[in-house]
Amino acid sequence: MAYSKELVDHYERPRNVGSMDKSSPEVGTGLVGAPACGDVMKLQIKVNNSGVIEDAKFKTFGCGSAIASSSLITEWVKGKKIDEASQIKNTEIAKHLALPPVKIHCSILAEDAIKAAIKDYKTKNRKNST
């Protein structure tokens, strides 16, 4: 299977690999997928007081397309407000990386991961403010 240059680049030089302290109130963590299905993504965002994503980190178990999708989305969400970040569609990721049809689920997983991270951040902060 021939992969696009963008995909190979993200696979070979993934951006924003790492972990943040998931107990920190500024950090939202999304863990999606399942080992039995062959992919698991952990995506974390660090959000400042004005609701802007200052930093994003990921770790992914999965095929090259899954790694590239998660690497790409961390780049895209950085500097965005959380509400903007939650608007990112999997189709944009799939298009940017030229994912083959059997790999579309990787982009869906990346979209799920950012949504889960935002949800986690919001849940934490609702509790903190009340």
């Binding site: 399942a34 299905c37 770790k59 095929c63 899954a66 689920h105 997983l109």
Partner: protein, 409 residues
């Protein structure tokens, strides 16, 4: 993909998928593409006689490596055809008396599909499970035999995990119970000693391209004493003792014969060489990476195969990273099904571990330098991907991954 892709720097480690043609085999074949073009079934002239003689020499060479009589060997297009003729042909001939076949869940698809075809046509099929080491349980085999059992079909060496089934013991059970024994020996010929007499094998499938002969040629051994009858699948001129019509290709038959002769002459030496390379490979990897598991029996296996699970690293991404190596992924993730190997699942390998597997095949043209480079590349890539893997991170923190409630999608 670029057709001019340079293969020179790529190390081939997929010898269970296919093997390159041995140049010595090609040399034997070439004249039959040129001046020796005769039809081996022409009885009236020299061209025909010469072609026929070359085929009979090849038949002897094939027979010798399995200790058969040359008259018991028929040429086919390959092991898939041989398996089809053997299983469907014997079923078709004896179906009025017996309608039960025993095979195994980890057999090659062409055996399983042939059995499935028969099960749609009035046959009962028993699919034996395998133990964790990939071997069948002989007690279960014996218990499955009924008075309606016609055939037991068990492969000799497994194409994915390289394990060797106890052929002699299976043969004894079959003979004792008056049941025919077919074995798919595509991956076994030239790698382990095969003896149709000692092993009581009645039908044996042989493949050319797994033993450095070309693709498109194989053979089927059909026992004459006591005689095994099969109904042919193709109608035609009645070549190959009426079991497989169609003009034979002398070039291909000569290639298979020459390949068998080389394997026969060099097997012991080659197995010793491959065992050393295999150990070097396995030790090289396990010394540098923990949580690497060998699939299939470590004792009963051919030296040219390693099937390894690299926990916490997905197999397809690993293959993408080791781009100078041609290996096969244990999982079929490139297909839309995203199902891991049915063979590894049958061994009881957890689904998450089955997704992390590679099949590494070593063979005649594998060198120590290849192994060193491959070990270096695999170790480097496994470590890199583990540093990206959330599962590896959790495992290092002591989290039990199996206890997490994953959202299956």
């Amino acid at each position: 993909m670029n057709k001019n892709m340079n293969l020179k720097d790529n190390i081939y480690l997929d010898y269970q998928a296919t093997t390159p043609l041995d140049p010595r085999v090609l040399d034997e074949m070439l004249p039959y593409f040129n001046e020796r073009f005769g039809n081996p079934h022409s009885r009236n002239h020299k061209y025909g006689w010469e072609a026929e003689e070359s085929i009979e020499i090849a038949r002897e060479q094939v027979a010798k490596i399995i200790n058969a009589n040359p008259k018991e060997v028929i040429f086919t297009s390959g092991a898939t055809e041989s398996n089809n003729i053997a299983i469907k042909g014997i079923a078709d001939f004896y179906k009025s008396n017996k309608n039960h076949i025993i095979t195994c869940v980890t057999e090659h698809k062409c055996v399983l599909e042939s059995c499935r075809h028969l099960s749609n046509n009035g046959f009962e099929i028993t699919y034996l499970p395998v133990n964790q080491d990939g071997l069948i349980d002989l007690k279960k085999l014996e218990d499955s035999i009924t008075e309606k059992t016609l055939l037991v079909s068990i492969m000799a060496v497994h194409n994915e995990i390289g394990v060797i089934q106890p052929l002699k013991e299976i043969g004894q059970i079959c003979r004792k119970n008056n049941v025919f024994f077919h074995s798919d020996c595509a991956q076994a010929v030239g790698k382990i000693k095969l003896d149709v007499e000692e092993m009581n094998i009645d039908l044996m499938s042989i493949s050319g391209h797994k033993i450095y002969a070309p693709k498109g040629i194989g053979a089927l051994y059909v026992r004459r004493k006591p005689r095994v009858r099969i109904k042919p699948m193709m109608s035609g001129g009645g070549q190959e003792r009426g079991m497989r019509s169609g003009t034979l290709s002398p070039a291909l038959c000569v290639g298979l014969g020459a390949a068998c002769k080389i394997c026969y002459d060099e097997m012991q030496k080659e197995n010793n060489r491959l065992s050393k390379l295999r150990d070097m490979f396995y030790n090289g990897i396990t010394k540098e990476c923990k949580d690497v598991y060998l699939n299939g029996s470590s004792e009963h296996r051919i030296p040219g195969n390693l099937n390894l699970s690299f926990a916490y690293v997905e197999g397809e991404s690993l293959m993408m990273g080791i781009k100078d190596l041609s290996v096969s992924s244990g999982s079929a993730c490139t297909s839309a099904s995203l199902e891991p190997s049915y063979v590894l699942r049958a061994l009881g390998v957890e689904e998450e571990l089955a997704h992390t597997s590679l099949r590494i095949g070593l063979g005649r043209f594998t060198t120590e330098e290849h192994v060193k480079k491959a070990v270096k590349d695999i170790v480097g890539e496994v470590n890199r991907l583990r540093s990206l893997s959330p599962l590896w991170e959790m495992a290092q923190e002591g989290v039990d991954i199996s206890k997490i409630e994953w959202a299956h999608h």
